[in-house]
């Protein structure tokens, strides 16, 4: 049945010898436009949202980690990476310059668990040599929160120390004996917790000597 037809060449008149890529295509403007719009839209969406999430995280990339403490030696200098520059200019942050001191931030305790404002922490050990240091408790975006005594910082000058120079600080919402670092008075409405340790006029800030220095440990005691 088909054989005679094929001989006449009437059944395969539509079959071309051209490879698929060269065959003429019916233009499909709506479909092409839809694909183009989809590609442009999703590309822009992914690009903008990924940039937003990295910048909004407010954590510069080139971090030096010492236990739970992090510092960004390049942030706020001309050598900073574009992400740090974007984070610092967008947040209007003024960095602690290297001739002034070094700022270390802890977001987790020594076990690696996120710091929570409703918990009690024991910060103990020693800091690198510095003429002066301050320890401040803030919320996760680095802003101060209301505390019971009105202060949210401790300085090295008002600290009670052990005979060997080490110290033990208790960070808690409620008053504690010894060195007390007050945390948020309303811990359940406070978003996150981080500790800022600022070492002023510290030799570690004026060199790459940050690796291998002793930093205080942060241990979780209990939670409310």
């Amino acid at each position: 049945m088909t054989a005679p037809l094929k001989q006449f060449g009437e059944a395969d008149w539509y079959e071309t010898d051209l490879p698929p890529i060269l065959r003429p295509q019916r233009p499909r403007p709506l479909r092409a436009l839809a694909i183009l719009v989809l590609v442009l839209f999703s590309g822009a969406l992914i690009g903008i949202s990924s940039a937003y999430f990295i910048i909004e995280r407010e954590r510069p990339l080139m971090a030096v980690k010492i236990g739970p403490w992090e510092t960004y030696p390049d942030a706020g200098t001309a050598d900073a990476d574009p992400y740090s520059v974007a984070i610092y200019t967008r947040g209007a942050k003024i960095p602690l310059a290297s001739g002034e001191g070094v700022e270390l931030i802890a977001r987790t305790d020594s076990a690696g668990n996120k710091l929570l404002p409703m918990c009690r922490y024991r910060i103990h050990g020693q800091t690198p040599t510095a003429r002066l240091w301050t320890l401040t408790a803030t919320n996760s975006s680095g802003r101060l929160v209301e505390t019971l005594p009105g202060r949210s910082d401790l300085t090295s000058r008002q600290l009670l120390r052990e005979p060997d120079g080490s110290f033990e600080i208790t960070a808690s919402t409620t008053p504690q004996p010894g060195n007390w670092l007050p945390l948020a008075a309303a811990p359940f409405t406070t978003e996150g917790l981080l500790f800022n340790l600022r070492l002023y006029d510290a030799p570690v800030s004026t060199g790459s000597a940050l690796k291998g220095v002793t930093m205080p440990a942060i241990d979780l005691v209990d939670c409310l």
Partner: protein, 207 residues
Amino acid sequence: MILSRMAKPHGALTRFATIRGSRRSGPGNLITGLLAVLSLAAIVHILVVLTIPQNATHSAYSNAARFGPDRAFNLLPDVVPGAEPLPGLDPAMKHALCRYQLDDGPVLFTASIPVPFWSMGLFNTRGDTIYSVNNRTAGSETLSMLVLTTEQLSILRENPPENLDDLIVIETENTEGFALLRAFVPHPSEAGQIGRALHAASCGLLR
């Protein structure tokens, strides 16, 4: 016969259509589309990150204008919860800020603050550190520092002021910037005295 001839091209046409359809949305086309999306996303990501510094409406430099006139140390309000004058300041310190433009002439910083620790950082409009000093590295109890451009320095060299040797001279190409002076407050009772010392710090013209 007629029926079969009618049916035949029709079946082939659908086959043709499926071949063409598979060419348009096969796995190869999907990968091309994903690559296009990813490369576009990467370009947009880089552009966004690089243009944020230019588009930031509240840079530290523009925020600094809120606290008072340029070319004078303006005492910042105390760093208290909910009313921090600038983000990331230490509540144990008192701060004073001076914004300057070198087009008006070199800036001479002088300060004498009776505290165990003070420091000053110079920043450009992007918030990058140009120079920083503290009361130990300043070499003396008082700060005296001159900030100027390269041209201003060459003019100054022709007719140097007498106390040039005592000054820390900072040459910079950033004609706009600000200085942040931080002074440690050992006890709240000293805050008033330190505030007055910060207010008395000068950020003026070289005479």
